[in-house]
């Protein structure tokens, strides 16, 4: 009898252990850093960049998106998959700052301009001379106190060159124009007020004689707006708020949202509890695109405040959505709300790529949006109608997007309420992809998406509002999503809405992407690898170990000597790298609004410090 009992116990034990090991996510454990091919590059007709918004490449890089269509595509093709392995370091430059470096270097006719995170120095480097010595440095001297209201590292996402002037924003809410040759200030306009918690970190968009700037501070109870300054004088042309009555939001007769959920009078007031819209967030800190043909500027709006959804019942218009406005008057043309009554801080500020796709026989003007909630949106850019939306990673916070009503279908199990932690919400607050923009190649028709693979536990609580202090009301802990890799670099076919190839990465891929006509895609990882992969197959071709994690925008330009150069600035930081750039203590998992829990190992993998690296093919 004893033996029977022992046998039974043994079998019981081993079935239990088998069940335990088997229950981690079913996906096979991919080999980090190597591509898994899911399909082939679509043959035949495929998407092309919107013609008006993507003029021919003159070898310069004058704005972060490369062009108004935000393709981040360089037409230079000297570097090809065959010879990319011979890329060599041409010169480097230290920016003397130690916070997250998210901006691209700008190259204009033989001069490279670098805008650094706080204290926002502007360097001009003379590319014509060997070693690119510094021509001049412009120091805007922003207020030191502004560091206290910058929620997710004191970053700056880039400057813009236009008509002889460099335009950029400073952390303490000023927009400055500097003469590109002499480095003298042309004009300076104060737009944000740090006492209210407002900062500015975005790269402006200069088009139609206007400089478009939006504020940051969704976590500080700021009321979001976008402002247009006259390019010459810096005087305010118009300012459109993202909450409040229609006259503040510049909504007038021209406003025709496609879906009924966005139609109605003064929705910016009626979808909020009284007074809540005044401190309701909806900031504009991401990317703008512009279609010169229709003179419409497209931009996304940030998250509603506070993170605790119970404190702001209602759809919380016009947060977490996409606006299209006329650039001259600021009047809104259409709006589409991606996540009404946002539950997980899914700001909708990601890049908007303007493209024309084949649509039963003729070309349809659309916009591509790899959105933060995890869906790749293809929308008609004239009306905002959602043509298709498919998840480009593991999503359980939402069940899908209903194309008839345009409404995202929430998953009630994951609905966050004050007083109880909701576990295992995917994607986490930084979303399937945060601010770091993807690149679109008209040659392959694919969108190259650098993104995360994170889930989170989310515990909302009552938030108290004191101007100038954080107005969040949630504890968050993030961790790796299914498969155990915290990031991935995905090539996405926007027409058939499916993955072509994907490279799983250990750390979240927080660097923007660059694709060149030569068929090479460049991106960086947070532990400092600057990688080049084949645009068609994702095979890794070349990589370089930089001094710090890479979250900056790689660019490619034609140097004075006519050769193709590739440049990137390494400097870990931003929200994902705050654990390093802000010297946080990894023992607190809820640090940096929960990101610290997912990045405990980053301090061993990367130190802080912003350095420029410029490569070219060895002679």
């Amino acid at each position: 009898m004893r033996r029977v009992v022992d046998a039974f116990l043994v079998t019981l034990l081993c079935t239990a252990t088998a069940a335990l090991t088997g229950c981690s996510r079913s996906e096979p454990r991919q080999q980090l850093g190597s591509a898994t091919v899911y399909g082939t590059v679509p043959a035949g007709d495929h998407a092309v960049a919107a013609p008006a918004a993507s003029p021919a490449d003159d070898g310069n890089w004058v704005m972060p998106g490369k062009d108004y269509a935000a393709t981040r595509f360089s037409a230079l093709n000297q570097v090809t998959p065959a010879n990319v392995s011979k890329l060599a370091l041409s010169f480097t430059f230290s920016t003397a700052t130690s916070h997250g470096y998210e901006a691209p270097p700008l190259v204009v006719n033989g001069t490279m301009y670098l805008i650094t995170p706080f204290p926002n120095y502007l360097y001009a480097l003379d590319l014509t001379k060997p070693g690119a010595p510094t021509k001049w440095v412009f120091k805007p001297k922003p207020l030191a106190a502004s560091q206290g209201v910058a929620c997710c590292d004191t970053v700056n996402r880039g400057a813009v060159y236009d008509a002889g002037k460099i335009f950029f924003n400073t952390l303490d809410g000023q927009t400055i124009a500097v003469d590109a040759n002499s480095g003298q200030q042309v004009w300076r306009t104060q737009l944000g007020d740090i006492q209210k918690g407002e900062t500015i970190t975005m790269a402006p968009l200069v088009a139609g004689g206007k400089v478009l700037v939006g504020n940051s501070g969704g976590e500080m109870g700021v009321r979001g707006w976008i402002a247009a300054l006259d390019e010459g004088s810096g005087k305010l042309a118009w300012r459109a708020f993202n909450t409040g009555p229609d006259k503040d939001v510049l909504i007038g007769p021209r406003f025709k949202p496609f879906y009924p959920m966005d139609q109605g009078k003064d929705l910016g007031v009626r979808t909020w509890p009284p007074e809540a819209w005044k401190i309701g967030g909806g900031t504009v800190w991401g990317w703008l695109s512009y279609d010169p043909e229709t003179k419409l500027v497209y931009y996304g709006v940030g998250n509603p405040g506070p993170w605790n959804p119970d404190q702001r019942p209602g759809d919380n218009k016009w947060t977490t959505g996409v606006f299209a406005r006329d650039i001259d008057t600021g009047q809104a043309a259409w709006f589409y709300q991606t996540t009404p009554h946002d539950l997980f801080d899914h700001d909708d500020i990601n890049e908007i790529i303007l493209a024309d796709i084949p649509w039963n026989g003729q070309r349809r003007p659309v916009l591509f949006r790899p959105a933060r909630a995890g869906f790749f949106y293809v929308q008609d850019r004239r009306t905002g109608q959602v043509l298709s939306a498919a998840p480009f990673g593991y999503v359980n916070g939402y069940k899908g997007v209903d194309l008839k009503t345009g409404m995202i279908i929430p998953n009630p199990e994951k609905a966050t309420h004050a007083g109880r932690v909701v576990r295992d919400i995917c994607p986490a607050s930084p979303g399937m992809k945060d601010w770091n923009p993807s690149a679109f190649s008209p040659l392959t028709g694919l969108v190259y998406i650098p993104h995360n693979n994170l889930c989170m536990d989310y515990g909302a609580m009552q938030a108290n509002y004191i101007s100038g202090t954080p107005y969040v009301g949630a504890d968050v802990k993030m961790y790796a999503g299914p498969g155990g890799n915290r990031g991935a670099f995905t090539a996405w076919d926007p027409i058939h809405q499916k993955k072509v190839w994907e490279i799983p990465e250990d750390l979240p891929v927080w660097s923007p992407a660059l694709v060149t006509a030569g068929g090479v895609v460049f991106y960086g990882t947070m532990d400092g690898w600057f990688k080049a992969v084949d645009a068609r197959t994702g095979k890794q071709l070349w990589r370089f170990k930089a001094g710090s994690g890479i979250i900056g925008q790689p660019i490619s330009y034609r140097g004075p000597d006519g050769r193709q150069y590739v440049a990137v600035v390494a400097g870990v930081g931003g929200w994902a790298g705050a654990i390093v750039s802000a010297q946080m203590d990894p023992r607190d998992p809820t640090g940096a609004l929960g990101f610290a829990n997912a990045m405990k190992d980053l301090p061993q993998k990367s130190t802080a410090g912003g350095i420029l690296y410029v490569f070219t093919l060895a002679r």
């Binding site: 929620c151 515990g459 010297q583 998992p589 809820t590 940096a592």
Partner: protein, 184 residues
């Protein structure tokens, strides 16, 4: 019959004796308002020209340093006054970490109270106009508990919220170093 009486009398006498020693639980919720003349806690690594001046401990420290109700009130203020937004549960973020051993402006309770009241250049707001002195000192007492300074029986093991750092009743006391100025 008489022996149990003797035992209980002795026990009560012992208890009365120990009464004076223990003020860990003493609740006090009112103290005089912020006076301009109250000496501010100076930062730790100041050079004292002509030799160090003897520092007198601030009399209020005794009321707050190891006082459980003060630390509990400080814990609630830490969340309600949005300190958690910048310093998280001690790990830092927008603001520096408070659970480690580095105190740029001093880790004594009066120095922390001065930092809270006056604010600091790199973004620490000044709370002098928003919080009373009693509230500021309670906040300072809680901030010290993030790095395990007060005695283990005066701190709370957890709050009624998502569990984050390991309970303060189990974390060892961090040695208080001076500032790490390189990290400006």
């Amino acid at each position: 019959m008489s022996s149990p009486w003797r035992v209980s009398l002795v026990a009560i006498g012992l208890a009365a004796l120990a009464l004076a020693g223990c003020n860990r639980e003493e609740r006090h919720s009112r103290s005089k308002p912020i006076g301009e003349t109250v000496p501010a806690g100076t930062s730790p690594d100041t050079i004292w020209p002509g030799g160090t001046v003897a520092q007198t401990a601030d009399p209020r420290a005794r009321l707050y340093d190891n006082n459980a109700p003060a630390i509990a009130a400080g814990q609630q203020l830490y969340t309600q006054m949005n300190c958690v937004g910048c310093h998280s549960h001690g790990g830092g973020g927008m603001g520096p970490a408070l659970m480690d051993d580095q105190w740029r402006y001093g880790g004594r309770i009066d120095q922390i109270a001065t930092t809270i009241a006056e604010g600091r250049p790199n973004g620490m707001p000044s709370w002098r106009s928003k919080l009373t002195e009693d509230q500021i000192w309670k906040l300072a007492a809680y901030v010290r508990s993030l790095s395990g300074q007060p005695s283990k029986d005066a701190v709370a093991s957890r709050a009624e919220s998502m569990s984050s750092t390991t309970p303060q009743t189990l974390t060892p006391r961090e040695p208080a170093h001076t500032s790490d100025t390189a990290a400006q």
